[in-house]
């Protein structure tokens, strides 16, 4: 019997549209012999919708929500599915495929709700997701375990703009968001203030690091904490990848219905990459995913200071754009997207069972 797979995408975050792309791309790749797909769109107004209308791009552009059916997920383990809000109907769901990026969807909020519903869902647990999406917390944790990170200063939004200490040039980035929104290089105090002011439109916390002049970015994807994809070196037009570089390149516009990270210019498994660095990347990836108990497909981003050949951990994406399928494609033997999703789904089901295998009812009787 086919499993009922709900694919969740959208979300109340800046990466909302990227998430739609990841979600629809994944739906196209799912093995429909094994799964019946229920697309679920988390709209900017906070409501969840399902229905065939979700397959039409105009639905999102026009916000024609009256063409879809509003559903919701309740924190009630007995339901095991989504409830229609207008009709008296339940959509049974066996497993949830999460394609969210950014706030609320990738940071543990939705994961928490799914845990309360005792649902099987792909990707990391709430605790791992939350830590991963808070760059400062994540780096603080990893550095305590010997993973090299670039030291950073955390600045919280307040009444006045406070300048960081340190020598310029500095690199300013939001502590919480992914995808390089409001990321900026500051060469002096004036630029720093403007960068911070802009950043505080999107996040309440800013992370300030020193600028690596001669920068090489190296990414790697990890599946279930024990399978490693080839590394990639994403190629940017400017100093470091900006949101525009990642998602708004001309290539992605002319591509087929997909786009996003998959169409960014990249060099996968570059032959001229220093083998020491490559080995370090894989080793750190192993340690990090083990320490943080990562599951599903994640992507780790590292930075190399080419002046010192020093490798630094940069960030962990619990739900990478396009599930980094373009990296797994390049494995030998290649792991095609369909299979990648299959393995994520199996892992999700397995993990749910594992998390259920503890007693929750038995406790100190305080009453």
């Amino acid at each position: 019997m086919k499993k009922q797979l709900a694919v969740l995408f959208g979300g109340r975050s800046i990466e909302h549209e990227i998430s739609i792309i990841t979600g629809l791309q994944a739906i196209e790749a799912i093995d429909t012999e094994k799964y019946d797909i229920i697309p679920v769109y988390f709209a900017p107004n906070g409501k969840w919708y399902t229905g065939d209308a979700l397959y039409d791009k105009m639905f999102y552009k026009r916000g024609a929500y009256n063409l879809a059916e509003e559903v919701t997920l309740l924190p009630d383990p007995s339901i095991q599915g989504l409830i229609s809000r207008k009709r008296n109907k339940t959509y049974p769901v066996d497993v949830y495929l999460l394609a969210y990026h950014g706030q609320y969807g990738e940071d543990g909020c939705v994961q928490g709700l799914l845990e309360l519903a005792n649902a099987a869902y792909t990707g990391c647990t709430p605790e791992t997701s939350t830590i991963a999406m808070n760059k400062h917390l994540c780096k603080s944790l990893l550095t305590a375990h010997g993973i090299p990170v670039l030291p950073g200063q955390l600045l919280r939004r307040g009444d006045k703009l406070v300048l960081p200490t340190g020598d310029y040039p500095l690199f300013v980035k939001p502590n919480h968001l992914g995808s390089s929104v409001a990321v900026a290089r500051a060469n002096n105090e004036s630029e720093c203030k403007k960068a911070l002011a802009n950043l505080f439109r999107f996040d309440r916390e800013a992370l300030v690091e020193r600028c690596i002049e001669n920068l090489l970015e190296v990414n790697i994807s990890v599946l279930d904490a024990d399978h490693f994809s080839p590394v990639e070196v994403p190629v940017a037009t400017s100093h470091a990848l900006t949101y525009a570089d990642k998602y708004l390149r001309e290539e992605s516009k002319s591509g087929p219905s997909s786009g996003g990270m998959a169409s960014l210019t990249r060099i996968v498994d570059p032959p001229d990459l220093n083998p020491t660095i490559k080995a370090q990347v894989i080793e750190y990836a192993r340690q990090i995913t083990s320490l943080l108990d990562c599951s599903g497909v994640i992507r780790l981003d590292f930075m190399v200071d080419c002046d010192t050949d020093q490798l630094h951990f940069n960030e962990l994406n619990p739900i990478p754009g396009s599930m980094a399928f373009y990296l797994w494609d390049q494995c030998s033997p290649p792991v095609v997207y369909t299979e990648l999703l299959d393995r994520m789904i199996d892992a999700a089901l397995k993990r749910r069972s594992e998390r259920m295998a503890v007693n929750h009812d038995y406790g100190y009787h305080a009453l």
Binding site: N45, K193, A197, N198
Partner: protein
């Protein structure tokens, strides 16, 4: 046979409904539109004369108002109600009256349907407004009302971002929503507890409209952006415009913050209603004074301190909007330094003197309901940008009542000083504009589409183009009936 007629009525009435909706369901203005565009039926009547069955192909070939045109038909609940009732009028009339007259009566059915439904619509609106008021008082944000002949929407967005980033969660209405109905809808769908501020744009469509908006969202503070000559034809006179906008200041409680355009004599009249009014502008004596203005940077003098401002929003009107928002934000408690550093990140709201550079080619989009002051400022901005040829694409200004011809002529004279080429769109101000234009290459285009096609073909490298006043297609190539 009746089916053929019904099919025709179905398609044709929807087309008329689209224009009726654009005229905000005002029978008089719809009638005016009908007359100006000679929108009486020709095809239907011809078909009925020859053979009623011809109505079927004609009906099927009617353009789809849900898809065509710049402002498409939106099937709102109200639109559907009017349409449904118009069917009853149609059926009843078709029973008694010879069919040959029916095609001409279709617009009338819509107007009649609207009239009958008015009491019901009013009741629905009152109920919804009451819900909105309750929601607002539960959430209790500090309400800042913004009115003025132009600059409301831009200032609202700017102020909203400023307050949200520096002081607290801020609610503001999307786009250019500024009517009681629109604001009610926004509040009912988006207002939640937790918002500390609410920036409400208030459109003065006639005397009393701002009063009504103030009853819906009682303001604690106000901004008067400018008093120009926009919409004179709705008000009747300049005095009436001034009176209508002072309703906002009158609604602000004693001691509430009032920020007012200090360059505009009539705005100052309104500001004078209070003794603690703060003024912004270029002139001496403004509390927030703009100095050293150049295309996209200037200095603000506030509380005896100077703040250097860089911005992506070009033009003097943008500088005024920024100064207005800056004044209000700082008076509400924001740190001026924080605000000044935030401004470079803010982008122009779409279509309000927005400079777009595509492949090295610069185009200024000033597409929203032009007025003499804004048009002048846009031309000034066009002048300030360096380029080879300066090109203007415009249908001229509308809704200026009896001054319309004169103002268009005057602006054409000014444009002649700045531009090398002008594309005049449509017929509404053609004569007036041609009268004022001299020493420029003029292209006369019937429609917006034609103008853009010509522009695309003839645009040269280094040309700087200003697209001024992109009117809703109500004013474009005549629709064919």
């Amino acid at each position: 046979m009746f089916l053929a007629l019904s099919l025709f009525f179905c398609m044709r009435s929807l087309r008329y409904l689209r224009y009726f909706q654009q005229e905000e369901y005002n029978g008089k203005r719809f009638g005016h539109w009908w007359w100006k565009n000679r929108a009486f039926d020709k095809r239907g009547t011809l078909a009925l004369l020859l053979s009623p069955l011809l109505l079927i192909p004609i009906a099927l070939l009617e353009e789809n108002p849900l898809r065509t045109g710049k402002l498409k038909l939106r099937l709102t609940a109200r639109a559907k109600r009017i349409w449904a009732v118009s069917w009853i009028w149609f059926a009843a009339t078709a029973y008694f009256v010879p069919w040959i007259v029916i095609p001409q009566l279709i617009p009338l059915f819509l107007v009649a349907a609207n009239s009958i439904l008015k009491p019901y619509e009013a009741w629905v609106q009152r109920r919804l407004a009451k819900q909105a008021r309750t929601t607002l008082s539960r959430c209790d944000p500090e309400v800042i009302g913004i009115t003025g002949s132009f600059g409301k929407t831009s200032t609202k967005h700017i102020l909203g971002e400023m307050l949200q980033t520096t002081l607290g969660a801020t609610f503001w209405t999307k786009g250019g929503i500024n009517t009681t109905m629109g604001v009610t809808r926004e509040i009912r769908t988006r207002m939640r507890p937790g918002y500390q501020f609410a920036v409400m744009e208030m459109g003065a469509y006639h005397e009393g409209s701002i009063d009504r908006l103030c009853k819906l969202t009682p303001p604690h503070a106000a901004i008067i952006t400018a008093i120009g000559q926009t919409h004179i034809d709705r008000f009747g006179s300049q005095e009436a415009i001034v009176r209508a906008k002072s309703e906002l200041v009158n609604a602000v409680p004693a001691g509430g913050i009032v920020v007012c355009n200090g360059d505009d004599v009539q705005a100052r009249e309104i500001g004078a209603l209070r003794d603690n009014t703060l003024y912004f502008g270029f002139s001496d004596g403004c509390d927030c004074r703009i100095v050293g203005y150049r295309l996209n940077h200037f200095t603000l003098i506030w509380n005896d301190k100077r703040y250097d401002i860089e911005t992506q929003m070009v033009g003097k009107p943008a500088a005024m909007n920024l100064a207005a928002a800056f004044s209000m934000a700082c008076t509400l408690g924001a740190d001026p330094d924080f605000i000044a550093n935030l401004i470079p990140a803010l982008q122009a709201h779409s279509n309000r003197l927005q400079m777009r550079t595509v492949g090295g080619e610069i185009t200024l989009h000033d597409g929203y309901n032009s007025n003499p002051t804004g048009f002048r400022a846009a031309l000034e901005t066009l002048d300030a940008i360096s380029g080879k040829q300066k090109v203007l694409v415009t249908p001229g200004m509308i809704e200026l009542g009896s001054n319309q011809a004169k103002e268009n002529r005057v602006i054409a004279e000014i444009a002649s000083q700045v531009c090398d080429r002008v594309l005049v769109v449509g017929h509404h101000n053609r004569e007036a504009l041609l009268e004022g234009l001299s020493d420029v290459n003029v292209d006369l285009c019937d429609s917006r589409d034609e103008a853009f096609a010509v522009l695309r073909q003839t645009r040269q490298k280094g040309d700087v183009v200003l697209i001024e006043n992109d009117l809703p297609d109500l004013f474009e190539g005549r629709p064919k009936f």
